[in-house]
Chain length 760, copies 2
């Protein structure tokens, strides 16, 4: 089999697959420089309290301990946070969640580190905690921050909801509740850092945002941003949990006290649970109405997202939830109210779906209830109301880009799993019930208005005549690195032997934002295309000079060569590279994502990132069988139809969809961070269950292609959209099977049995 082709549209195997399966590829966690020190944090262990004293004397005295640092050793603002910088690097006088770091230890090895951390005594005056976002809104609730417990309160309003409900022939009302979800990446938060003799900090870290990290560290520790270099190898998973500072500031602080020695910090699984970011738990109150003609008419919802102790991206996550709260449907009258509220729970943060997972559960179940009330087929009802290009969405923004909800639903309508669903249901064995559920979902792409979503790509022709892409957006496993190689291969006409990719390194690549928001391949890809086109033009121009051709016409790049087609003469790239000075061997492309031109007169409470104008769409179908005796839920078949513009790589596309559906099925059936007074009762994979391959059905993924003309080769990002559908689709299938409705997730066997007992 030929392995060499790198062209767009082609199912190129992941270029990092071989080095990863052989162990050759180094993740951040694999770096063990010589003369290594280990750093670790002492965690508060109480959900809310005033720090009276941190006694580090015993720890400091332990042989092998290099330093024990507390708040007073933090030279800068001591504050981190992507939008609101409210999170201390090391707590000063107060802790707001159990995982908060109060001291930092540097030690010669992990054993000494553990012993030293155990010797640190934190004296705390416990404060009353609050663990529910609605309770935290009560006037009498303990106040976590100076400005109170409300991180963001906002409203999206369109039409006149008050009057609209009275015109509806069916109105439904329901409350939904979803728990915190853990990212559960294979490679937990980690990095290694050292200070160069000239004072520069170098850091190899598992991060989704190396360029932003520099700013976080500089701000928190009072450093010059230019003195910090962040290198981001391939990540062993991210899902949003490495978008924002995890180990970065602590590690940088440690490096400043390591006398030039490298320091490694690597959270173990339990620390990752306790201190890492989670998908926000939320409670969602929905009321929706439709007309007798089957058209959605009104929606009023109130969304409460639990931000945990600090802001992180809570406001922006609520915002995206609100922007998607009406679903991918035409809705003339909407009132969407949202609160993102501080509590003493672990910190909520970015996670694939970014606030949309939560509302997808609600709006899709409400669609089913309305369809039932109207006596309509749930798919027909969705088709009747699905957004099309030219429509305004629930935030009042006109959809002027590719809008694939209808094609996805129509493809579902034609699919054998849809047309054959009744047959399958009738085949249930004794004590089994079968149901089929569908969900139509969408997910915005990009940062949205107010925060330029841009990328700057650098490309180099090496002295050896190869092309080197300087990526500045990490590949956390989603495959963007291979997509970039394909784009470059497509334009530069080269095969794999002539193309290489340098993972992000703030000293070598150029700022391009984070790997997040389904924007990575879209934004950096567009910048890279420009860099490749500029390089191609440059090389044809230089070759014309060398070959003494009268004009630039009729040149082409072919593997290893520039060919003058008109004369048949070739120039080897090595030879051409040798003629060019280094400064003439690189090109740079830049790109800023288009934004919504509509400026809706709503949502003005959002700081940044509202509204969005690009969305990907998906329609999913779940075949579910339930055991009436045990409540055990089995997903038998699963179909995911996804619209994300054009497909760059069918294999990567399918892998992204499979991953998102697997994570979504985990969210639907088993994953929840169980909290009691802010304490995680299941901080490991023995108690926190992730689906394994045995828990998952065969997932059929089909691309429903449209064209996004602004996208690189017509694509949009689809890394997130697939995670939003499994929960509502499986919940719908359960209701279809049994007639019982679960509105609280995960949809466990116990909850099924409880409802069966209640209804029998």
């Amino acid at each position: 089999m030929k392995k060499g082709l790198l062209e767009v549209g082609y199912a190129v195997p992941r270029q990092d697959a071989w080095t990863k399966v052989t162990g050759e590829e180094k993740y951040a966690a694999d770096y063990y420089p010589e003369n290594l020190l280990w750093a670790g944090a002492k965690r508060a262990g109480v959900p809310h309290g005033r720090i009276l004293q941190v006694d580090v004397a015993a720890a400091q005295a332990l042989p092998g301990v290099v330093a024990v640092l507390t708040r007073k050793d933090v030279p800068g603002t001591n504050r981190q946070g992507i939008v609101h910088k409210d999170q201390p690097v090391l707590a000063g006088d107060r802790v707001r969640h159990r995982g908060e770091a109060v001291a930092l230890v540097l030690a010669e090895n992990r054993e000494v580190l553990a012993a030293a951390l155990a010797l640190i005594r934190v004296e705390l005056e416990p404060l009353p905690g609050v663990f529910d976002p609605e309770e935290a809104l009560e006037p009498a609730a303990p106040q976590l921050h100076e400005r109170g417990n409300v991180l963001v309160q906002a409203k999206i309003e369109k039409g006149n909801v008050g009057e609209a409900f009275s015109a509806c022939s069916v109105v439904v009302e329901e409350t939904f509740e979803v728990p915190f979800q853990e990212h559960g990446f294979l490679e937990t938060e980690n990095g290694v850092a050292w200070q160069e003799p000239d004072g520069h900090l170098v850091m190899i870290v598992s991060t989704q945002a190396p360029f932003r990290d520099r700013f976080e560290i500089a701000h928190a520790l009072g450093l010059e941003m230019g003195s910090i270099r962040v290198i981001s190898p391939y990540l062993g998973g991210g899902f949003g949990g490495k978008d924002g500072a995890t180990v970065q500031c602590l590690l940088a602080l440690a490096a400043l006290h390591a006398h030039g020695r490298p320091v490694k910090m690597w959270w173990d699984r339990e620390e990752s649970f306790v201190a890492g970011y989670k998908r926000h738990g939320a409670r969602l109150y929905y009321r929706a109405g439709a007309n007798a003609d089957g058209k959605l008419h009104a929606l009023h919802c109130r969304l409460y997202y639990d931000s945990g102790a600090y802001a992180h991206l809570g406001g922006e996550i609520l915002e995206l939830g609100m922007e998607h709260a009406g679903g991918p449907y035409r809705l003339p009258h909407t009132l969407i109210e949202g609160w993102c509220v501080y509590t003493n729970n672990p910190i909520g943060g970015a996670m694939r779906g970014f606030g949309v997972c939560q509302v997808s559960f609600a709006f899709e179940r409400v669609m089913d209830l309305l369809a039932a009330g109207l006596g309509l087929d749930p798919l027909d009802f969705r088709l009747k109301n699905a957004l099309q290009r030219g429509d305004k969405n629930c935030a009042g923004v006109t959809l002027v880009h590719s809008t694939g909800m209808v094609p996805c639903l129509e493809a579902l309508h034609r699919h054998a799993l849809w047309t054959g669903r009744e047959n399958w249901k009738q085949g249930a064995g004794p004590c089994k019930k079968r149901g089929v559920g569908l969900a139509a979902v969408f997910n915005a792409m990009g940062y949205g208005r107010g925060l330029p979503d841009s990328a700057i790509a650098k490309l180099e022709l090496t002295a050896a005549g190869k092309f080197r892409i300087y990526s500045s957006v990490p590949d956390m496993g989603q495959g963007n690195a291979t997509a970039f190689l394909q784009m470059a291969g497509e334009i530069l006409g080269q095969d794999a032997s002539r193309l290489e990719l340098v993972p992000p390194d703030t000293a070598r690549s150029l700022p391009s934002g984070s790997s997040s928001a389904s924007r990575t391949t879209y934004t950096f890809g567009n910048a890279l295309i420009r860099a490749c086109q500029e390089m191609k033009e440059k090389l044809c121009h230089r070759a014309a000079l060398v070959l003494m051709a009268d004009e630039e016409r009729g040149f082409a790049l072919v593997p290893g060569k520039v060919r003058h087609l008109l004369s048949g003469r070739d120039l080897d790239l090595e030879f051409l590279a040798g003629l060019l000075p280094e400064a003439d061997r690189s090109s740079v492309g830049q790109f800023v994502m288009p934004v919504a031109q509509d400026v809706p007169d709503t949502g003005k409470e959002f700081f940044i990132g509202f509204p969005h104008v690009f969305f990907s769409y998906a329609a999913h179908l779940a075949y579910v069988e339930v055991d009436e005796l045990t409540g055990k839920i089995e997903v038998h078949d699963y179909l995911a139809l996804t619209e994300g513009g054009r497909v760059i790589n069918p294999q990567s596309f399918e892998q992204q969809v499979h991953g998102a559906v697997a994570q979504g099925i985990g969210y639907a059936l088993m994953e929840q961070v169980i909290l009691e007074q802010g304490e995680i009762l299941n901080p490991n994979f023995a108690n926190y269950l992730l689906p394994t391959s045995l828990d998952l059905p065969d997932i059929e993924s089909l691309a429903v292609e449209t064209v996004e003309p602004t996208g690189p080769f017509g694509m949009k990002g689809i890394g997130e959209v697939g995670v939003n559908a499994p929960l509502p689709a499986i919940a719908a299938a359960l209701e279809d099977a049994f007639g019982v409705r679960l509105t609280r997730s995960p949809l466990t066997a116990i909850r099924v049995l409880e409802r069966l007992v209640q209804t029998s």
Copy 2:
């Protein structure tokens, strides 16, 4: 289900489907103007002869006969033909094939017409005929034309074949023979024409090339081209058989004698067989060699194409065959010799595959023989040698555009039908043998160098605020009309209710060449995109003026409106159209297809159309079962993997592939024009067998997408490529099943039994 969306990438149902199935859509054959006359031709009935006299007196005297015309009534050159104008409208002193027209009758109705034709007496002195292209090359052969019997003789040469064979470790040699094939379209050749009072000729005709038709008619009849208007409704099939004059010149001549009355000419099935164009029969001598390392090394072939009595596109068809004679493979040494030779057989002409069908049989079977000689798997052998972008093809042209042979073969390699083939073969029942065969094929797109492949598209905003596309390339059933509506809908943001398409009409649309050469959607689509973009800019500009917006930014077209996104204000298209004078409501886009920049130092004997630079690729797999007792061949399963850049409409794509495969299976198993001394022995569908749905397997079509950056939304044409593979794939499967090799097609039961007898 929503029917309104017209966007690119989406499986939009054919927009003409409804009017076609309800009979509302009018084909040319459906036009019956008032006061109609019928025209018909008297055919020669002998393959070769000198005309002594054409006695029309009895016919002329028949009541109801309006006119009887012969050669002397033809006012112009009396010559038609796309490249070489060697074909008379009405024969003068000589006939060269049995179907040649010698007189033309106009009558009040079909009955009188038939009677009059029977009354015409043609006195002929028979001349010796020649019916085999190689025999026609003998010096002693009867000479059909002044310049002899050779229409084109050409050579494509690369490397040094003479020496190369001695370096090969395996050399194979084989001769292949393929018959004439009939197009077999549902709607046979027909048209209706009349002369306007001002002398203009108007013609509604089933044609693939309305603009070229005007030139053909004007040249043959000595008219001004501007005095002729050709209207081309949807065709009931074409396949190349309506690319070039069929009824056009005869019909125009009749109209000149009809005193302003409309005249209809409609060939019945037998006349269509006798007078219509056919796929060229051919004999192909192949010798090929490969190295021990499994690499193709040398090819020498001699190709003899039977042009029949006249040139039509015989030279260009031979040329395309020669350009494809080496297959989609890297071949350092090639000598491809070709002859297109006149005989007294029916006229060969354009047909889907255009000369490539013939050589595909040869080169793919030779690939199997070489693989067997080398002890290699036939798929691995093809993968090892498949052309990639940057390679030079067998004509010496560098492939700088999308080149999808490897992705197609790799997709086949992964497919369950490939991996499961041995299992299937072992399941053969008693007296049955099973075999599996594959074929890798390609097909050029466009006219090639020397004949600009261009289109000019016109778009209009009607006074009613709809968009009207003036297509100038007929839709003969392949679905390009829907593709154009999708492209316009994509750019203009409109749904089906706002878009309409006017079929080609030389008085209303602009010249864009023919519907042929897999170039229709590519070339006209590119022109249309430009027209749509210009229209969009125009409307946004005019809307900005009307809305008194300070700048053009922030406008979008949404269904029925231009929206100023920045202010939320809308302008109805009807309103905007009302403000614009008619001259300001249209836009024109033009496009010329890129050509090969390589100018190979070979093939200089070709007049036009050499070389090509765009190709589509396909890999097919056939599962074939043969009955040992009867020789009956059944194709059980069929897989077609097709690369044609990006897909505009997955449904149309699949339909094109299904149609091509069906026609290719007919060509492989049953279709042949049986000729005896130039007479067709099976000139109807009772004797000439076309496959019905019962003869065809389920055909699985999968698109293997690459990106063709020059294509409209990344596409290339795929209407032809699929017809090239069934014959070699099924022949390979037969050899796999039995070990017997058929090198003459069609692969009938009789031929299987003959070989079984010979080898047993």
